[in-house]
């Protein structure tokens, strides 16, 4: 991305990849950003046995789904704002439709529903097999505003692209 330009979807995909790579927990689990538009962000959590919540029955830990929805919804917030701001999770609600099963990646799609002066409202959905959702999440994020966002946050998100521009 060159200065003064609106980031493209590809710029945002690289920026959110940097964002989830800077999060120790999701970096170690190998979370990938697949696609980003101002409205929708898609991610993929590759399978590893540490995601299990019940070894005997081979079921995914429900908390993995909550963690993934928090990450996907929290990331989707950034491209929906006029400029990147730090937005911590205010609250999160997760409905578990069916258990996740061992051995398959988990996909996440997060969508920004509405941005107000102080809050960003989001929704997310997870699946392993298309058309068979595992869980739905509703997450609200607080806008801390430019004043409480560290200097250089936006630059850090897009730094690599600037170097190549």
């Amino acid at each position: 991305m060159t200065h003064g330009q609106t980031p493209s979807d590809a710029d945002w995909r690289r920026a959110l990849t940097r964002f989830v790579t800077a999060i120790t927990h999701t970096r170690e689990l190998g979370l990938e950003v697949l696609e980003v538009t101002p409205e929708v962000t898609t991610m993929r959590l590759p399978w590893c046995d540490d995601l299990l919540g019940d070894t005997a029955r081979g079921l995914v830990h429900g908390g993995v789904l909550t963690m993934l929805l928090d990450t996907a919804c929290g990331s989707a917030v950034l491209p929906a704002l006029p400029a990147p701001e730090i937005c911590p999770t205010l609250d999160l609600r997760v409905d578990h439709f069916r258990p996740g099963v061992a051995g398959r990646a988990i996909l996440a799609e997060a969508r920004v529903i509405r941005v107000t002066e102080s809050v960003v409202f989001t929704e997310g959905i997870l699946w392993q097999e298309a058309g068979r959702p595992l869980a739905r999440g509703i997450g609200n994020f607080v806008r801390l505003g430019p004043r409480n966002t560290p200097d250089g946050f936006a630059e850090a998100l897009f730094a690599e692209e600037d170097d190549h521009a």
Binding site: L51, M67, T71, L92
Partner: protein
């Protein structure tokens, strides 16, 4: 004896012994984030759970702070295991929903949680969880969860 939540005898025995560590051994994600049960609660008001402040649980390196989703996974683990001990008979809880409110930044220090079973019906249970770091009076997050209370004999089929 084969270990597993779907083994009725194993579940009944570990439950009678209050062997939460045996249960945690079968929950890989809880082990990864470092959940343990704290037995000696000085107030003697039941079981406490603890989340280890490990590097892999960080969600914001600038602050630094724990990942909110990891805190939620910790609270869900605590609620599930606490429920398995607290029900009238051995049950296999299956989560229906969780709602979590983040009250303060969770720093990278030990986090504790206490659960209360607000209702045990024939099919459903409602659990409230409070998580804190420095003092129980200053919670970092609260959550409420619904579980279906499964029959362990049916799960073992």
């Amino acid at each position: 004896m084969r270990e597993g939540f779907d083994n009725v005898e194993w579940l009944a025995r570990t439950r009678a012994e209050g062997d939460v560590e045996a249960w945690l051994a079968l929950v890989p994600y809880a082990r990864r984030i470092g959940v343990s049960a704290v037995s000696d609660d000085p107030q003697g008001e039941g079981l406490l759970f603890r989340l280890d402040p490990r590097e892999g649980n960080v969600g914001n390196v600038l602050l630094p702070a724990l990942h909110g989703g990891v805190v939620a996974a910790f609270m869900e683990t605590a609620a599930t295991l606490d429920l398995m001990l607290a029900t009238r008979a051995p049950r296999l809880p299956r989560i229906v929903d969780i709602s979590i409110d983040y009250l303060r930044t969770a720093r990278v220090v030990p986090t504790l949680a206490r659960c209360s079973l607000l209702r045990e019906g024939r099919r459903m249970g409602n659990v409230r969880v409070c998580a804190w770091q420095e003092s129980e009076a200053v919670p970092v997050a609260t959550a409420r969860l619904h579980f279906v209370l499964g029959d362990p004999a049916e799960a073992g089929a």
